[in-house]
């Protein structure tokens, strides 16, 4: 089966952390490629290396050994400035604790990456942000500050912020961990819907509900991939569900 070129590729990647003088291996010999449109979960217990893998892919950390390429760029060879630019242009982030800017309202939080990009006019920004807020279902809360929103609403704002620059891949670190199950399910529903519309998602999670709904599951244990299962074809979640 022919694959389009991978958005993210990890080849023989090791990551060590220094804990005082002790070297703690976090990842060992990881080989992984993420194709466009995938809805992938990196699963595993705490300390298995999920977040570390996500950080390497998210260009916020660099591998100790091996090669990480994002959108064709070897991240080890990019400057700090270029990495930041790569994150801005190609990646979207969803955090476990939502990480919204407390002093900005929902609209401004979502608009923020667009302002950093400096590509769109004010009207264009407004249109895109409002469309997204509508899409994630919280357009009526555009003027609310994060502390005036529920956890689920905040995560929706965070999702809208991650999508607003139309990134090639959205990285989500335990996006449902701080949400009750109902809200968590609704968030996963939303991400599935967005995935159907073409957004590539890569999660780290140990929430079985999320794992069950993933198109592909990469299971980590002690820094190594112990399982990599593709359950359905790209963009086929809806089809699978209805089947």
């Amino acid at each position: 089966m022919d694959h389009p070129p991978a958005i993210v590729r990890l080849t023989g990647v090791d990551k060590d952390y220094l804990l005082g003088k002790v070297v703690v291996p976090a990842l060992r010999g990881i080989d992984l490629a993420i194709q466009p449109g995938e809805f992938t979960v990196i699963a595993g217990p705490s300390g298995s290396g999920k977040t570390t893998a996500l950080n390497l892919i998210g260009c916020v950390d660099v591998a100790t050994r091996g090669i990480v390429t994002v959108d064709g760029h070897d991240t080890a060879k990019l400057s700090e400035r270029d990495l930041t630019k790569l994150r801005l242009e190609r990646l979207g982030f969803i955090f476990q604790s939502f990480n919204l800017v407390g002093v900005l309202d929902a609209f401004q939080n979502v608009e923020f990456p667009l302002l950093l990009q400096r590509k769109l006019t004010k009207a264009e920004r407004r249109e895109r942000v409002m469309d997204l807020l509508q899409e994630v279902g919280i357009d009526q809360y555009a003027k609310h500050r994060p502390n005036e929103l529920s956890g689920g609403q905040r995560q929706r704002v965070a999702i809208a912020r991650a999508l607003v620059t139309r990134p090639q891949i959205v990285l989500a670190d335990e996006p449902t961990a701080n949400l009750d199950s109902e809200t968590g399910n609704a968030i996963v529903d939303l991400m599935e819907k967005l995935n159907d519309e073409g957004t590539t998602f890569l999660f780290s999670t140990h929430d079985p509900r999320v794992v069950d709904r993933a198109g592909r599951v990469v299971r980590l244990m002690d820094g190594r991939i112990v399982e990599d299962v593709t359950r359905r074809a790209v963009g086929a979640s809806r089809i699978a569900q209805s089947a």
Binding site: T51, L54, N55, G58, V60, D61, E80, R81, T84, K85, R87, L88, E89, F93, F95, Q96, S97, N99, L100, V101, G102, V103, L104, Q108, E111, F112, P113, L115, L116, Q117, R161, T165, D173, E174
Partner: protein, 705 residues
Amino acid sequence: MVLFRIALRNLWSHKTKTLIVGGLLVFGTLLVVLGQSLLTTLDQSMARSIVNSVAGHLQVYAADAKDNLALFGSFEGTEIGQIKDFPRVRKVLEGLPEVQAVIPMGIDSAVVFGGNVLDVKLEQLRAAEKQGDHARSHALRNHVRRIVVMLHQELKNLNGLVDKAKLTEETRQGLVDVERAAAKEFWDSYETDVLGHLEFLENKIAPMALGEDMIFLRYIGTDTNRYAKAFDLFEMVDGQPIPAGKRGFLFNKLTYEEQVKHKTARRLDRMRDRLAGGFQLATDDELKNWRKLNKDQHKEITYQLDDDSAAAVRKALQAELKSSETDLVKLIVAFMDMNDQNFARRYKLFYETVVPHLNLYSVKIGDTLTLRGLTASGYPTSVPVTLYGTFRFRSLDKSAVSGAANLTDLNTFRDLYGFMSADRKKELEALEAKSGVRAISRDEAEAALFGGEGEEVAPEAVAVTPTAVEAALDPTEGFDEFAGVDMATGAKTHGASLADLTYTQAQTDGGVVRNAAIMLKPGVAVADGLRAVTLAVEREKLGLKVVDWRKASGLIGDFVWVIYVILFTAIFVIFIVALVIINNSMVMATMERVREIGTMRAIGAQRTEILKMFAAEAVVLGTVFGAVGVGLGAAIVGTLGYVGIPAYVDQMVFLFAGPRLHLLLSPTHLLFAWAIVYVVAALSTIYPAYLATRITPLQAMQDAE
């Protein structure tokens, strides 16, 4: 823009912190505005006081001076040499387009002895006896007798308190003398030996009476008429200016009041002023002290009263006190025991009924006063001059600094200072030529004048009238004119006749001066004038040092700089405190915002953008609180400019150039203060901003785990 919004929101969401930081910034700004305005105004007003009363814009003095010129005194010496050729200096400098006038000066101090009441009365008595004025002699005799009796009474009282065995021989003898002078027999026998009695009183009794009044005077010897014209704060109060070419003295009104006026009257004046300032006799120690002195020093009044005056004063005081007491001393003591209720009435009464019988000023306008001083080489000298009047420096009436400056003519100064005035030098040369005396140097001449031994030039030969000398020097006339010179009068070198001499302007200009004030034309900046004069002095090789008024005024000129240093140290400390507090609170805020900043970085914000966000906070802080501080400062300065800061003590009058200091509001000061706030805000943001740029996106992630 969003960064500004975040900055604003950040400040807003930490209101307490922002207010504390803002308060500090506002306070600092306020202080800068106020301080600068105060100092600039103070500097300008002080400049006005100094420039227009004593110093002029610039001062010149001999380049080879040992000490620096200090017009208001200094801790160093006052050896400032002398300007060699003043007429040339004036010609060159007054030729400059920047210079308005050059006024010659010699600043020095002298002492005037007031003489005690008994001395004065005895002198008058002697004169009356000499003139055969019996009526006056009789009145004066009674007055002298009153004083002696009072003195005797006092000594007797004192005697009762002291163990006689412990008295010195001198004191014991004094007691015996006073007893004799107070006795009826002494006065009964007065007519038989007038001179003998007078001598006894003058030599034995007078020294035991009230001590002599010694007046220390700081004076400026100058061309008083040019001075009056050039210094626009100068203003005659009483009397008249010294007539052109005459010797004379002008008291500064303040000195005149402080030192020459009758002491009890002066104390009452002071009490009146202090009471007007809101103090109360019931509570204020200073006022109580003056009241006590007035009661204790009743002699200041009683000694001056003759029988008739004493009777008049007694009657007035009895009426005021509703008393039948006849002892004048007791009446005066009771009268002087004033309180807040009766002060105003008694003050008025004192001036209406007591003062007419007193010698209100020990030296009156028209009197001749004898200035005593030391010449440059240390010889005592004295010069009699006529007191023509009193003057003041407008709006500096109460300033002791400018009030210390009295004026005399240049020739008197030269005599006191031991300079040979031009005419005297000529005289001397003329006399030498005539009598074939060997030439003597100036120093030797002085020695000859004031006690050098074995010199052929008799000192009395020197004091010929200059007009006569002029004639004598006329080659057509020869020296026969000397025949007309009254050598007997001249012999009293420093006798009263000296005061009557007349000098031509050339003679006045021609002699030695120590320093000269330069007045610049209106609109010429002091620095420009200084440059022009310095260049001219170098070009013409005048051998002068040129200094601006600030330097010339010595310690006083430095005063503003001292305040500057103190104030700016205070401002510096406040801003350092502000800086530390802002820095700390921002570092703490940064620590609280690690996740937020990490998230921004993860989303794609560059370090520079994080930096901009912090800069925006600094700018907002600086703008908002700087504006508040500047606004408040401007309002306060504006108000103080309108109302004026009152000069609470007399020294402040000089600094303020008047009774109130009206602060000036300058846009430069406001901008400067605002700029400082920006700098402080920026400096205090540097470190937290640096910390913030070090936050990695990873920290946003880790926090979440």
